[in-house]
């Protein structure tokens, strides 16, 4: 007995999955679904480009921990989400993406707006379904959400032919999940965890290297306990930023190519490296053969394929980070008894590196991008949710906006997708409406998804975009300066010629503020914060500022370049702020 159409069942099943918001843009083959969305309790956010829809869904997912959802049409609508699929796959972001498809009897005929989207996305989807019969919909939707959110999360695609949307069927709630080949290992191997505990207690120079997996699995509390109770310093990857408070004395900040010197030096000297929910990417390790040369490595990750992929691991533990850390903490407490090992010599060494090689930059000269990020940090009291674009802006955001909670820092880590940050900020703000949400942007990246200004204005999503406008594809220019004899091939964006970001913002009905002097920065940020709507802050920063410190590609972490500068408040005590943390 039929009680609804495939499209109605799809929307009902999304409601049953708890979807409250989705991002999309309609077209012919997905019309039946949008027709049903018209009356649904789900809020549909109409974007101006499908790439915006999927990045917004990613931002929503990353900010809330829930599955992000978007719905687009077949053909070009579907191919426009490919970058977002790849992005979500690399950064393990849970998404369910629904694409329209031509009718089942037309598939394979090169019909109008037909694209083999399940084929195109094979390498970048955690899984995909081509739904050929609406009667399978209740199971397919349940399985798609289950796959997206569990294990190592990732994007799942459901391709829905238009005749399946129209097919009459019976929907009685979500179907049963039957995935005989899908059983993520959650609980770590007891003996391995015991071995890890013993190694931690025996280590003289241990360091924790934490990644995005700590955030995905909600293991921040357990990580903090591990670090504090055992006096372990913690460094994080870009994706791990926020998993352990950077305000903590034990935090070493980020490691790797643009990490802190003290994090990288600690890795070079460590005798034990405890990697948690991280994947040893090339931006982290530098020259692989010289990475952590003295360290025994413990690697905790839910994805067995990550273990041993890039580095040899002495103590592998496959499991959910939170569950493994919980057990590890218990075992450590028992083994430790009431002995405490503050590892005085190692602690003194690391603290000396922190003192000698702090993060800093020269304030002298033109408006400095790092200063802008620092002022955003202070004026939002370190509490904003920060999205970023890609390039220098992203690295300065990571270096100078200290994150204190998980899901606070949302960036395209694995794929490095320019244009990610702005739509992601829209998604994050919709997911956490009480947060102040900033996109720290570059003048290049922002132009890749700038059309979402219309979405932000019309849907009333008051995100603040701080464009660190250096007139260049800055990170590429920096590499040209350092490695290509300063030949700035195709990297100048001709600041002052085009575009005028303030006028663009205003044309879309948002607020635009231009800042060219250091003295104007605070007032502009405050004005943006006070304004109830989307704002573009166009900061004309020093054009040829570089991101330092830096490990050149292929070099070991010990080889960091860049002058040693001291924090602004040390050099200019008159600028020191009251601490707010």
């Amino acid at each position: 007995m039929a009680n609804m159409t495939g499209a109605q069942a799809l929307v009902r099943s999304l409601e049953d999955e708890g979807v409250d918001i989705l991002f999309g843009l309609p077209g012919g083959q997905i019309l039946p679904v949008f027709d049903v969305l018209y009356d649904s309790s789900i809020r549909t956010i109409l974007v101006r480009h499908e790439q915006g829809a999927i990045h917004a869904a990613e931002g929503y997912a990353r900010a809330t921990g829930k599955v992000g959802t978007c719905v687009v049409t077949s053909g070009p609508g579907a191919t426009n989400i490919v970058t977002g699929m790849a992005d979500a796959y690399m950064d393990s972001t849970p998404l369910v993406v629904i694409t329209g498809q031509v009718a089942t009897n037309m598939i394979g005929t090169d019909a109008f707006q037909e694209a083999d989207i399940t084929g195109i996305t094979l390498p970048v989807a955690k899984h995909s379904f081509l739904l050929k019969d609406a009667r399978n919909l209740p199971e397919v939707v349940a399985e798609a959400f289950q796959i997206a959110r569990t294990g190592r999360p990732g994007p799942v695609l459901i391709d829905m032919p238009v005749d399946v949307s129209r097919q009459e069927m019976n929907y009685e709630g979500l179907g049963e999940v039957r995935l005989p080949g899908y059983k993520p290992t959650l609980k770590g191997h007891k003996r391995q965890i015991q071995a890890a505990a013993r190694a931690i207690l025996a280590a003289r120079k241990p360091v924790i290297y934490a990644g995005g997996g700590v955030i995905s699995s909600g293991a921040s509390k357990e990580l903090a306990q591990l670090a504090r109770e055992n006096h372990l310093f913690v460094t994080h990857s870009l994706m791990g930023k926020g998993c352990f408070s950077e305000a903590d004395r034990l935090s070493l900040g980020m490691l790797g190519m643009h990490g802190t010197r003290y994090a990288n030096y600690s890795i070079c000297e460590a005798d034990l490296l405890i990697a948690i929910g991280a994947r040893f990417s090339d931006r982290i390790t530098g020259k692989l053969s010289e990475f952590a040369p003295h360290a025994t490595i413990i690697h905790i990750d839910i994805d067995p394929a990550e273990i041993g992929k890039n580095v040899n691991v002495a103590i592998p533990i496959v499991g959910d980070c939170r569950l493994v850390l919980k057990e590890l903490n218990e075992i450590l407490a028992n083994l430790r008894g009431n002995k405490s090992n503050p590892r005085t010599a190692w602690t003194a060494q690391v603290e000396e590196w922190k003192r000698k090689f702090p993060m800093g930059y020269e304030l002298e000269g033109k408006l400095k991008p790092q200063y802008v990020v620092e002022r955003i940090y202070y004026l939002t009291k370190g509490k904003a949710t920060i999205c970023t674009e890609v390039g220098q802006n992203q690295m300065w955001a990571a270096q100078y906006y200290k994150a204190t909670r998980p899901r606070q820092f949302i960036t395209s880590g694995g794929l490095g997708t320019m244009g990610f940050g702005f739509p992601a900020a829209i998604g994050a703000k919709l997911g956490r409406p009480k947060d102040v949400v900033f996109d720290i942007a570059g003048d290049g990246s922002i132009q890749m998804t700038i059309q979402e200004l219309a979405t932000a204005v019309i849907e009333k999503v008051p995100v603040k975009v701080a464009i660190l406008n250096n007139g260049y594809l800055g990170m590429v220019r920096q590499w040209q300066q350092l490695f290509y004899r300063k030949r700035y091939s195709s990297t100048s964006l001709e600041r002052g010629v085009s575009p005028d970001f303030v006028m663009i913002a205003e044309a879309y009905g948002a607020k635009g503020i231009r800042v060219t002097e250091t003295a104007q920065v605070d007032a502009a940020i405050k004005e943006a914060l006070a304004y109830d709507g989307p704002v573009f802050l166009d900061f004309h920063v020093e054009p040829e500022e570089n991101v330092y410190p830096m490990v050149a590609p292929g070099e070991p972490l010990s080889e960091m370049i860049g002058d040693i500068c001291y924090p602004v408040e040390q050099v200019h005590p008159e600028l020191a702020e009251e601490p707010f943390l």
């Binding site: 084929g119 094979l122 390498p123 995909s128 005989p180 080949g181 994805d303 067995p304 394929a305 992929k309």
Partner: protein, 157 residues
Amino acid sequence: MKHTLSVLVENKPGVLARVAELFSRRGFNIDSLAVGPTERPGFSRITIVVDVAEHSLEQVRKQLHKLINVVEINDLVPERSVERELMMVKVSVNESSRGELIQITDIFRGKIVDVGRNACIVEITGPAQKLEAFEEMVRKFGIKELVRTGKVALQRS
């Protein structure tokens, strides 16, 4: 080093494409691949011969396991499994050489499955070395066409 993986998969659309794509993307070379139904309805078995170093084999297995439709993977060690492959060869023959071809085929426990005026089709099963030995023996007659299924294998009990 060659390894034979026996991969039990859910018989879902696109599952072969997923497996093939994974091998090409991760840069693993497939030597041969055979796929067919199993004793369990809804499940197929893919037998893959892959040429990789020990370290990469571990990655192949782990990456395969990540495919949602992959249920089970067995690394079949030659000493503990039975391996077979089927080959058909269309061999040029004339009245005078046909007898010799039949003799050789008998020795290899093969079968002549088609006889024409100028050619015969011979079917041979066995491990790869046997098929290759047969091929060597009949080369002098002239091989018009040759096809092999790729290896299938089962673990001994």
